[in-house]
Every structure is written in C-alpha cells, then in structure tokens.
C-alpha cells in the first residue's frame, strides 16, 4: 500500500545518490549515536572475545592474541535503520573469517547470536558474518573507536542495518535455529538487509 502525500515534493530526490538504499539519506560527516543502555567503560586489556555454541571447542582470544593475527580494513558505507547512511567509512580491525577459521564449525550451525559486555544481543545468519562480510573493529578513520560508537571494540557487519554491528561485542554463539536478539525482540527485523528495507518484524 503506497499513497501519495499531499504537497510532498521530496526535495532530495533530484540529487539522490544511487549508493543509498531505499528510504535512506546521506548523513554526511555526522555519525548519530543510538544505543539503548548506559555506555560501558572497559579497556581492551580487560576484554576478551569468545566463539562458542556449535563449534567443536569454544575458543577465547585475549586482546593480545587478536592483535597478533592479520588485521584488515573495511572501506565503504554503513546504513542505520533510523534512515541515515554514512559513506566512505574506514574501519580497521580483524575479519571474523580469521577467527572462524580457528574453530571447527558444526555442520548444523546456521545462525549466530552476538553478545556485548552490556548484555546487548543481536542475531544474524552465519553466512552474514563470514566470507569477508564482518569484522571486529577498533579503529575508525585511523583513530581508536570512540566509546559512544562502540569503542574500544565493536562488531562491524556493514551489509546489514547497523544495529547488527553490536557495540562492545565480546561473544558470538553459533546456533542451529534463529533466535531474536535485543532489538529483534523489540520489533526489528531478524535479517535487516537495507537494500530490501527489512527494518521491522513483518517486512
């Protein structure tokens, strides 16, 4: 169902950027902050990262161990469900492929739950975080990631709406069946593809 809105000319439509998914606008240099909980305080020396669930043996890495692995970068856009997109972002971190390659994944694993130190959770398909699609990231534009943007470390899954890129992530659990995370229980989509406008449950 789409009806036209009286008198709405859509002033932005003429210079609409083809890199923008439907319903998104370019936020330019801004980077709005949206989180649901009190911003946690911790250092990377206090932090570690665990892969568990449907793997032969759960594995935990310290920050020093993560740093010893090959790093990689993401250059490209990010898209928030609140309709802003940000182009030409530069994140530095480690591809999740590097970590997933260090465990043996059970053949029945199809979904994952990412969990943060704050208790925040978000769910995705396993295929959404492997094959060069997801990172743990700790630098933005060459500087340490600011706390309010998920610093000192966050998940980055830029092909999905940005609530999937869990701030302060410290665990990914491999699962057989999909289970809703925090926003997904609260009305947001289980997959969250911006090009399909999968914003809310029911889309």
């Amino acid at each position: 169902m789409t009806s036209f809105t009286r008198g709405f000319g859509g002033r932005a439509r003429r210079e609409r950027d083809p890199r923008l998914p439907p319903g998104q606008y370019d936020t330019g240099d801004d980077w709005p902050v949206l989180t649901a909980e009190v911003t946690p305080h911790f250092t990377l020396e206090q932090w570690n990262f665990t892969l568990d669930g449907l793997v032969d043996q759960a594995k935990t890495w310290s920050w020093a161990e993560i740093q010893a692995l090959p790093a990689s970068d993401y250059l490209g856009p990010i898209h928030c469900v609140t309709t802003w997109s940000k182009f030409d972002t530069h994140f530095h971190g480690i591809s999740l492929d590097v970590l997933l390659d260090q465990v043996t994944i059970g053949p029945e694993a199809k979904f994952i739950m990412a969990t943060s130190t704050s208790g925040y959770t978000t769910n995705m398909g396993l295929d959404d975080i492997r094959g060069g699609k997801a990172w743990l990231t700790w630098e933005f534009d060459g500087k340490p990631l600011h706390r309010e943007h998920g610093g000192p470390i966050r998940l980055l899954v830029p092909h999905l709406y940005f609530w999937k890129s869990a701030k302060w992530v410290n665990r990914i659990t491999l699962m057989h069946a999909d289970e809703p995370g925090f926003w997904e229980r609260n009305g947001y989509h289980d997959h969250g593809d911006p090009w399909l406008e999968q914003r809310y449950q029911g889309d």
């Binding site: 932005a12 709005p32 009190v38 911003t39 704050s118 809310y200």
Partner: protein
C-alpha cells in the same frame, strides 16, 4: 584477566512489540505550540497494544515514488482515542519540515507502529524518567498513562531544556511536580538533582540528544540507580 562488569538488567526485554504494518491515518488536529514544534493528533484505522514510551514511523511519498520516513515518539497515553506525535522542526529536515509547514487537519499520513519494547513503562513499578528537549515526548506519554491509571506517584520526572519553550508539555510536567532545569538559566541536571528521585525507583529512563543521554545516564548511575536498570533512548539529527 579482569572481569568486565556486566550491565544486563532487563536485557533482553520482554517481546512486547508485535509486527506492524503501514496504515493510512487521518490527521484530526494540528497544534504548533512554538516556532519549532508541531503536535499531530491522528486517527488510526488499526490500533495495536501500545505502551507509553514507544514510537511510530511516518512515511511521506512523493508522486514520483520518492519516499522518506522518520520515527517519532508518541506523546499520548495508550488510552487516548487518538495517536499524538510531537515533532521538532529541524532545519533542512525534509520530513519534520513537511509536518510543520504543510500538514493540516483532514490530511492523510502513512504511519506504522507502535514500535519498541524496551523504552516503555506500564505503570506497574516506580520509575524515574529524565528527558532533555524533545526527549521529554515519550515521558509525556508515561505521565499521561500514569494519570490515567491514578499512579502518578510512581513516576518521578526531571526535564531539561535551554528555555521553557524548548520543553514540550512543560505545563503538564510542572503540574506533576517534575524537576525542571533550564540550561539557559545555568541549571544543568546532574546526579544531585536525580538523587532524591531515584530512591525506591526500580527502573530509570533517559531520553534526549546523544550528549544529554550520555551525561544523564551516567548521572543516574552515579545517583544510585543500578546500571542494568537504566534504559536509554538517544536521538541524533534525523530531519
């Protein structure tokens, strides 16, 4: 390895938010209390279970198919026959500008909601709620809900703005005994303001700009609220 303190509290929230669909609402009333605020009262064809603190999405569609949508907090109580949204007109905001400048009673608007099951209060437990600027809008819904239930004693409020004109529904907040801080007069809310409100509260809400939410969520914790009991809604410029 030092354990990181975990702030979980209500995570994950109860699944109170049911799937929603777009619907066409009819604008019944339009109020413009200030040069930057517009209050829209809408009649919906389908109402779902609603909780104070939730938001709706408004979608505008041009005749060539170009569409823009934004989320706005609901200011009316769930018991209200109409759905009330309070929108701040942002400079260059293509949706908020349209809603302020163009919308009249009798117009149709596409809306979707209610959305959100985290920043909600059902009146069953004592709460402290802190809002800055238009961040007070979901608090107005909570206050009106509390009035409807006859439990306004369970909701302790602190609201802030540069001037009184920057705080929507200020008269209602004052009448409810809210702490009112005007930063233009040199009063910035801090833990000392919140400490008397926190005693006995089982949940805390903070809504406002990113900077406000960051400062006041920390102040709420400093004033004695357990970190896991604080629910935050931050908003940025989403014209």
């Amino acid at each position: 390895m030092t354990e990181i303190p975990v702030a979980i509290g209500g995570f994950p929230a109860d699944p109170v938010s049911a799937p929603t669909q777009w619907q066409t609402a009819t604008v019944r009333e339009v109020l413009r209390p200030t040069a930057r605020l517009v209050i829209l009262r809408l009649e919906l064809t389908q109402r779902q279970q609603q909780y104070a603190g939730q938001h709706f999405v408004v979608r505008l569609t041009a005749d060539d198919g170009y569409a823009a949508s934004r989320s706005y907090s609901v200011s009316s109580a769930p018991e209200d026959d109409l759905l009330e949204l309070c929108v701040e007109r942002l400079s260059g905001g293509e949706v908020s500008g349209y809603l302020y400048d163009v919308v009249e009673p009798g117009d149709s608007l596409e809306v979707r909601g209610p959305i959100g099951g985290w920043f909600v209060w059902d009146g069953s437990v004592p709460a402290v709620a802190v809002g800055g600027g238009t961040g007070v809008v979901p608090l107005a819904a909570m206050l009106r809900h509390a009035s409807h239930l006859g439990v306004t004693d369970r909701l302790r409020l602190a609201v802030s703005g540069r001037t009184g004109g920057d705080i929507p529904f200020l008269d209602e907040f004052r009448a409810a005994g809210a702490t009112v801080a005007l930063t233009g007069a040199g009063h910035r809310l801090d833990a000392d303001d919140l400490r008397p409100l926190v005693d006995g509260a089982q949940i805390g809400f903070v809504c406002g700009s990113a900077r406000f939410a960051e400062a006041l969520s920390s102040a709420l914790v400093k004033s004695g609220m357990p970190v896991g009991d604080v629910r935050v809604e931050r908003f940025g410029p989403t014209g």
